[in-house]
Every structure is written in C-alpha cells, then in structure tokens.
Amino acid sequence: MSRRLPGRPRLESVPLDATAFHRVKRGGVDSEWEDAFALDTAAGRYALADGASASVRAADWAGHLVEGFLSDPFDLADSSALAEWIGRRCAEFTRANPDPNAETMDTGNWVRLASSARHSFATFLGVEFGRGSGQDVTVGWVGVGDCCLLVARGHHLLWSSPMGPGDSFGTHPDLISSDAGLAARSAGRSFRGRAEVAPDDLVLLMSDALAEWALGSAGAGSGSWVQLGQVDDHGFGALIDDLRDHDRIVNDDVTLVRIRVGRSAATGKGS
C-alpha cells in the first residue's frame, strides 16, 4: 500500500528524493503483500510497516499505521506520545472493524466471526527529517520491531537501527497490536534516535528480510550500497529474484524506501 499525502512545507529547503520498491513473497500474488509504506516528501516524513503474517488483517493494520504516521504527527522522541498515537490508531482501526456478534456463531460461520474479533499485529518504522540547531539536516526515527533504518555514504554503511551488522533477526520481533490495551506495552518496546545526515547520504528503510540480507556478512557490503542507491523497480525485482534463487534472503515480503539527501541544501557533516 502506498500513500502520498499532502505535505506540510516545513522542509522546503531540504531536497529529498524518495522512492519505494516492494515485492511480495515468492508464491504469493501482489494483493497478498502485507508490508506498507507511506511517503510525504514535502513534510520529510516516511514510514514502513510489516504486517505479521499470522495475524488477521495484517496488511490493513500495516497500512493504517503508515498512513497515520503522515496524517497524525507526534514527537518521535516522546515515548508517551508514541503510546497515545498507537492508542489513536487502535481506536480508529477498531471503529473501522467492529467486533461481530459471537452469539450468532455456528459451524458454518465460526471462522469469519472468530477471526473478526482478533487483533492485528505489525512491526513499524517512522522517519522524520528536520533541521538541527546549526541548520544541519537531521533524521529522527521511531520504531517497534525489526523494520530497519540504514544510512550509507558512498560505498559504506554509516550506521543502522535497531539492528546492526551481523545481528540475528530471529522470528518473533516486537509488534504493535491493534489492541488499544497493549498500546503502552508496544510503545515501551520502541527504539528511537536522531542523527545528522550529509549531502548525498542514502537513507534506507527496509523490512526485515531485506535488512537481514543487507546487514549480513553475505549482504550488500561494499559497492552494493551504490547499487541500492541507483536501482530502479526492474533492477530491484531482479536483485530480489537473484537473492531468492540463491537462498540468500528469506522468502518474505520485501520493501525498500530509499531517500537521497539533496546536495544543495543539506549542510550537516554526518555522524
């Protein structure tokens, strides 16, 4: 799911060039892609979410989270603001998907009624560009789970969050639930930060399978950051096909949001 919403013009002087690519897991069809991204370049806000496959309406919940990141901004540095934001997302999602009347459940309709009453889960990463005190360009981020933010400069990875090179991703990341009662708990498991970026830096939001490859010893590595910075949709598809053909990436939905910091306005020296 992709949304480009009307932006707030506070980053007019920071040229950001953003593109997103995605591929559904092998064996699936496009409508079964359960990640979601949203881009608002005018406001410098970007989001990526990965719906948990084993939960119902995972794609809808992922889409709801990324859209909400653009339409309902909050202070990324404030954990309680995140909890309140998740609570608002849960309330809106529940209004759109009300609980059914389980009293009418019988052997013919029990799956529909029981699944309608269950909650949805997703990992999430939201990113916001801004100006530091010295007019340097900064990127702030907040997330829950293992969608990753990576910043590359030229041939080198500068840093990444929350996972680092060689980290084990595991199979059970922290998740944001659509259950409002769990909003504070989800927020309590969040990661966040803010750092300077420099002209031509490549800021990448990746869902877990792609990030695991990129940060792994057999991953993008030297030189491939340039490739990721230049790839078009066709090239991205070819790259993912090749990785899957050689079992170098887990067969999962794959999403990349690529943001290039413009040279003319960014003045920070990076960190």
């Binding site: 084993a54 309406r57 052997t107 529909r112 199979t171």
Partner: protein
C-alpha cells in the same frame, strides 16, 4: 540451513498428533480433579486447532488458506483418525477442511472474565483399552512417507505424541527414529513427546538429558524425542524456559497448562514471523 522454510500455500506444513486414548486417560488430570486426562487433552487439541485455523485467516471475509495439513490419530481400543463428523476416517486433512468441519460449537463461560465464549469442537474425549503407541507411529510413518514425497521442499513434518504411559506394543524409540528418517529438503521430521501426569510434581520441559527422569518409560520417551532446532530453542527461551544444548522435544509430568504451552511451541513455524 535446516528448518528455515517459511510456510505458504505452495509449501504447507504438516502436523500429526498422536493421542493416547487408553483406559488410564480416564484418571483425573493434574490440578483439575473434575476433569479427566482425556478431557483435558481433547480440550487442548481443540484449542490448538482453533489457533491453527486462525493463523491461516488473512481476512475475515475470506476462508482460511491452506497452510497446514493435520492428522489426529488416536490409540487405545482402536488406532485411527480421531476426528468426528464430516472428517470421520480422514487421516491427513487440510486446515481448510478442518475449519469447515467442527462437529459442534460449544458454549462455555470464561472463568477469568465470566463472559460467554464459543469454541468449535473437533475431538471428543475417548479412553479405553491398552496403549498401542507404536502402531500409531507406524500409521503416522506410512502417511508421512507419502506427504514428504509430495511436499519435498516444505517445512518438515512435526509429530506430537501425547501419552500418560508406556507403549504396550513395542519400542517407540525405534519407531521415532523411523519417523525422523522421513525428511524434506528443509530437514528431518521432528518428533515431540508429552508425558502427561495425574500428580502435582513439577514438570520438566525440554530437558537435555534423561538423568533426572525417574523410570525407564520416561527415559524411553526422552530418547524417542528429537533434538530441538534453534528456532524452537529461541521460542522456548522467549517464553522464559531454560533450554540447554542438546535439549529434546520432551515434556515429563506435564500438567495441562504445560501441555498447551508445549503444543504452541511445538507447532510454531516460520510462518508465525513477520
């Protein structure tokens, strides 16, 4: 890399539950004097089937997707499929057919909340006869030999044997090894054993050795259990369990809550990830 295959419709996973339905299962379950072991096990498996169906539903307006093939084989006075209703006599059954064929919807009261809840029922409690565990393993093996042939690249089958006693028809260790010899390109069949109990003694979950086990029957079931692959060790660790190197898929002296926990861990696949 083994046990890494993600479950999808082209690569469904396979679970086989072997359920002791011998006469001793009429005894009360640990911590639930009003409930027999047969009732507790049937309820645990019904709850698990419910969860497995739910894992396969992407959207309430669609039916579940075919991510699992499942068999429930009972062994006691007879050995064979334990399903009732439309599934009577079926061995391996698609989760889609299972979802469509509960025998009834049961209404109960949630003791924690007092709210009425409704749950589908597939398996009814049964307890009669001896413990022909090996015959049940033999049936499972014949079934799984065909399944791995037709699903060569799927996550390998998982067999979960639930019993309160010892096999009366042979050595389950030898038959467990035969089951483990059935493999897909992603790994060998995993065999789990759950020894359920009528006592209040502390359960032992995923032990690494049989030294602490009190009798030859428990040691036999330990030997008949597969070594846990890393992803299950990781999951068990996340649930606060201490799982050492060489841990086996075995629970000794389990009360029903331990059985439920064990079943949830034992049926985890990478499909559960994001």
């Amino acid at each position: 890399m083994s046990y890494a295959r993600r479950v999808d419709r082209d690569h469904p996973a396979c679970f086989v539950f072997l359920v002791d339905q011998s006469y001793s299962m009429t005894e009360p379950c640990s911590g639930r004097v009003e409930e027999s072991k047969a009732q507790a096990v049937a309820e645990a498996i019904n709850d698990l089937l419910y969860e497995l169906v739910m894992r396969c539903v992407k959207n309430p307006t669609e039916g579940p997707r075919h991510y699992y093939d499942i068999a429930v084989i009972g062994y006691g006075a007879t050995v064979g499929p334990a399903w009732g209703g439309n599934l009577t006599g079926s061995y391996l059954t698609s989760i889609v057919d299972i979802a469509n064929s509960p025998t009834r919807i049961e209404q109960r009261t949630n003791p924690a909340t007092g709210r009425s809840i409704r749950k589908p029922v597939w398996l009814e409690p049964t307890a009669d006869g001896a413990t022909p565990m090996v015959t049940a393993m033999d049936r499972a093996g014949a079934m799984l030999a065909r399944w791995v042939e037709t699903h060569p690249d799927s996550f390998p089958p998982i067999v979960i044997n639930i019993s309160d006693g010892a096999a009366t028809d042979g050595d389950p260790v030898e038959w467990a090894r035969r089951l483990e010899s059935l493999a897909t390109s992603d790994g060998s069949t995993l065999v789990f054993n759950v020894n359920i109990s009528a006592t209040e003694a502390e359960p032992l979950m995923f032990p690494s050795s049989s030294e602490a086990l009190p009798d030859q029957y428990a040691r036999q079931l330990f030997e008949a259990s597969s070594e846990l692959p890393p992803f299950i060790r990781e999951l068990a660790g996340m649930q606060g369990l201490t799982v050492g190197p060489g841990a086996r898929g075995f629970v000794f002296n389990a009360d029903i809550s331990t059985v439920v926990n064990f079943l949830q861990i034992g049926t985890a696949t990478h499909h559960v990830g994001v």
